[in-house]
């Protein structure tokens, strides 16, 4: 039973990754691509981690997985902000 739920979670997570990548390729300008990437991929990673936590043998690995997810969340949010800020500054300057 656990396996079915975790595989379901993982597959849906992959679905979000796919959406993010398609968004990266299809969307017209930088900001919307950034938007797609950070939103979809983080949610995908969240589902992936949830799926993996169910498989994890002991609590310690589960905690480490959530820590990884939180770190990636913070890092991608900050970097998305920085990229957008940099692009914004270059647009207003030129």
């Amino acid at each position: 039973m656990i396996d079915v739920i975790s595989s379901l979670l993982i597959v849906s997570g992959l679905g979000f990754y796919l959406a993010g990548s398609v968004g990266l390729l299809r969307l017209p300008d930088l900001y919307s691509r950034l938007h797609a990437l950070t939103k979809a991929d983080n949610l995908g990673l969240g589902l992936l981690t949830a799926g993996l936590i169910l498989q994890a043998q002991d609590l310690f690995i589960a905690i480490k997985l959530t820590l990884i997810w939180l770190a990636v969340l913070a890092a991608s949010a900050a970097s998305a902000h920085l990229i957008a800020q940099h692009a914004r500054r270059r647009e207003t300057r030129t």
Binding site: A71, A74, A75, A78, H81, L82, Q85
Partner: protein, 362 residues
């Protein structure tokens, strides 16, 4: 079902590795090639994970993709965005198109030949199933090596001499960078968001580095990965505008970067005086000695890689207005010393000689 799934995954991973390598090397724009190189490093870390080499995956992600990428990005940032075609210092002086094409085809041919013969030789080598002697030897001696993680045992005990020389390589690199002149002008603060991220990220990085150092004895981890993560903390600090990134000044800075090699020599030579072979830890103290050496090595690696990103000695805060530091070794005098009047510059002497008496003006 399982083996074919793994095979499909392997083929996908290999294809992505090759395509990333080709993309990195074929792009015309320096910025793009650096970003693609970092992506290549991360996918390579994935490959190390797949080939059951977690220690190497950690190091590749932290040092290969992370710090090398940061160094390359810092270098690209300073270069004007000129594309590759505009480059002038061609190694091959043949600048007309014909010669260039010939050279490129010859080089390509040479490399295709190299690839073919190398893989033929490797296939031959893998076919004859090399003896697993060394792996068994490591397994047998693991008990007395003081650590249970075989890779750390090889790195810090069986082949500790290699690691000593490798730390000396790091020391040479940073001394070379120091000799080249003052540090990079440094970064303005990147805005509140990044500062708040740095504010809590740096302590977490330091904590993780300590954890990795400690866990290196039993599980994947160790001095190099921990040092790389500490260096990453240093890089984040620099990017958020902190100039001296918490490193000590002059004398203590030299002690920190020489800590790795120094501790190795201290332990090795003192064991020599106790009648044991150089770096031959007695089994009882082995784990303690290894941890001691790893701590010093972590500090040395972290300081060296952070200073390499900084590009030279950190500007000490006690500088007076003109950036001059009273002590003889400040970067100010380094810049002045780098262009001495006398050494080798073509002084315009009349008969080709100066009266050597005013030379000795020590």
């Amino acid at each position: 079902m399982n083996t074919t799934a793994v095979l499909v995954f392997d083929i996908l991973l290999v294809l992505s590795l090759l395509s990333l390598a080709v993309a990195t090397l074929a792009t015309r724009d320096a910025h793009r090639s650096v970003i693609l190189f970092m992506a290549f490093g991360l996918v390579l870390a994935l490959a190390w994970g797949r080939l059951m080499a977690p220690d190497v995956a950690l190091a590749e992600a932290a040092i290969g993709a992370g710090l090398s990428g940061a160094l390359l990005l810092a270098a690209v940032r300073e270069q004007p965005r000129q594309t590759l075609t505009a480059d002038t210092n061609a190694v091959h002086s043949g600048n007309d198109a014909g010669l260039k094409v010939i050279l490129q085809s010859v080089a390509t041919l040479l490399c295709v030949g190299l690839a073919a013969t190398l893989s033929w030789a490797l296939a031959h080598a893998l076919q004859s199933a090399p003896s697993n002697a060394l792996a068994q030897a490591v397994q047998e001696n693991l008990a007395t090596s003081g650590v249970s993680n075989p890779v750390t045992a090889v790195l810090l005990n069986f082949r500790a001499y290699d690691t000593l020389l490798e730390l000396a390589v790091l020391l040479t690199a940073i001394l070379g960078i120091f000799a080249l002149g003052p540090a990079r002008p440094g970064y303005r603060s990147a805005g509140p968001v990044f500062d708040s991220l740095a504010h809590w990220l740096v302590p977490v990085l330091i904590l993780t580095a300590g954890y990795l150092l400690w866990v290196g004895a039993q599980a994947p981890g160790g001095a190099f990965q921990a040092g790389a993560i500490l260096a990453a903390a240093g890089v984040v600090l620099q990017l958020s505008g902190q100039r001296t990134l918490g490193l000590p000044q002059e004398r203590t800075l030299h002690i920190v970067i020489a800590a790795g090699v120094g501790m190795f020599l201290l332990v090795g030579l003192s064991l020599l005086f106790l009648g044991r072979p150089f770096l031959g830890y007695p089994p009882a103290w082995a784990s303690a000695l290894i941890l001691l050496i790893e701590t010093a090595a972590m500090l040395a690696i972290a300081a060296t890689l952070a200073l390499a990103f900084l590009g030279g000695r950190p500007q000490s805060p006690r500088l007076n207005a003109t950036g001059e530091k009273p002590a003889a070794l400040s970067t100010g005098t380094l810049r002045a010393a780098m262009h001495p009047v006398r050494s080798g510059t073509d002084a315009d002497t009349n008969s080709g000689y100066r009266n050597s008496s005013n030379e000795q003006k020590q």
